[in-house]
């Protein structure tokens, strides 16, 4: 295992993960809002935001699917070493999936939950080059009137929202920035 895989974890995990979680909670509760999340220093090309989110939420109980661009030994070892999460090749078994949008497609292969347990769906962490506050208009729970967020696609998210109460939930990460799109958010144009 390379030294890079062993470093870059949270200093003082209880406090760092508490801070990271509050940001993750805040942006999920306010879709479209861009927050700052940090604490982890994962090997490139994984972003600080995605790494921090993974350290906050993943552990041996959460199978993680890594996109091909993140499947290098260094990142895989980093995730395994710091979280103990099992890395899975099968999308259908993933509780979390991390990668660029084009690698995550087709997102319809990830579990969307069941009518009795809609929570048993994958959370996708979409790695982005940048985060912008302009783009499709979002409406729904957590949003006062409306908000805009730059997204890699529109139709897929509209199709996902139409599955409600089933569906996937998304985080978008760029550098140390993070935003979220739960299944309840409706997109226009």
């Amino acid at each position: 295992m390379e030294a890079e895989s062993l470093s870059g974890g949270f200093d003082n995990a209880p406090i760092a993960s508490a801070h990271a979680f509050r940001v993750a909670l805040d942006v999920m509760a306010r879709p479209g809002k861009i927050g700052k999340i940090s604490g982890a220093l994962p090997p490139a090309p994984m972003t600080v935001a995605a790494g921090s989110l993974i350290l906050t939420l993943c552990d041996p109980e959460t199978p993680v699917w890594l996109a091909p661009s993140l499947q290098g030994a260094t990142i895989a070892d980093w995730v395994r070493f710091h979280t103990g999460a099992p890395l899975v090749a099968n999308r259908a078994g993933a509780m979390f999936a991390v990668g660029r949008w084009e690698e995550l497609a087709p997102i319809t292969d990830f579990p969307i939950g069941t009518p009795q347990y809609p929570d048993r769906s994958t959370t996708l962490i979409v790695e982005m080059d940048r985060m912008t506050a302009s783009g499709p208009t979002l409406r729904g729970p957590g949003i006062k009137d409306s908000i805009q967020l730059g997204l890699p696609d529109v139709k897929s998210f509209q199709a996902n929202a139409a599955l409600f109460p089933l569906g996937l939930d998304f985080y978008f990460t760029a550098g140390s920035q993070i935003a979220a799109l739960p299944r309840t958010t409706k997109l226009e144009g």
Binding site: A13, P14, I15, S17, A18, H19, F21, R22, A24, L25, D26, M28, A29, R30, T56, L57, C58, D59, E61, T62, T114, P115, Q116, Y117, P118, D119, S121, T123, G140, P141, G142, I143, K144, F164, P165, D169, P182, R183, T184
Partner: protein, 290 residues
Amino acid sequence: MSSDYNFAYLDEQTKRMIRRALLKGVAIPGYQVPFASREMPMPYGWGTGGVQVTAACLLPDDTLKVIDQGADDTTNAVSIRKFFEKTASVSVTEETTEATVIQTRHRIPETPLTEGQILVYQVPIPEPLRFLEPRETETRKMHALEEYGLMHVKLYEDIARHGHIATAYAYPVKVEGRYVMDPSPIPKFDNPKMEMAGLQLFGAGREQRIYAVPPYTRVVSLDFEDHPFERGGAQQPCGLCAATDAYLDEVIMDDIGTRMFVCSDTDYCRKRREVGHVGEMGVPKAEDAA
């Protein structure tokens, strides 16, 4: 105690499990997410669900307020506040506006919550259909199929018998047009406040359920066109601060049954008295020795 336990008492794996449940709860407003509630050092029924949710959310720089029955000084509120002072070293407050996290049992503060605030509810029975159908396997199906006829029948039977819906607290709501949800045993007076700027999180420890209502989410109290929801509320102003827009407790004053009505929200009442409002039985704040 503080040095022997992890930050905010719970171990990190437990917090991660609760945090994942919270995020799915936020993503599916009103849906009850199962979670593996842990034994806490206070009994089930004393707010173990709320305490676990709070513990999973707290930051060392948070300011925490804990209320029970609207009041900061009730014994259980004091006990929970002290627990987090010790285990998470957070600052505490009695002022609604100062708090970043508020844990509550049975009330929503009168002062509207703002965007930065989280309201954590302690929930005894999270399933709104439980008293109509005791089986979890059945109620889960009913939620899955959005089959809420039983609830409407129950409410309608009330109207047929009493002329009103005879539910005064824990009055069921429909969240974002999908899930029927138990708002916890708050008086129905508080139901309209649930459409708010703050984030609402609900924890039921013994029943192992977490649910959430994000800010600006539609929360509609169930009713009928010809029998719209009535908020109810006190018939007279607060005896101490003269508030007419607050939920009041009835206090028996003496052996012959003299009563007075005072704000259940102690912070709201005190604030009003501080700025000079005086009720029929109160004295100006400056002269109040208590």
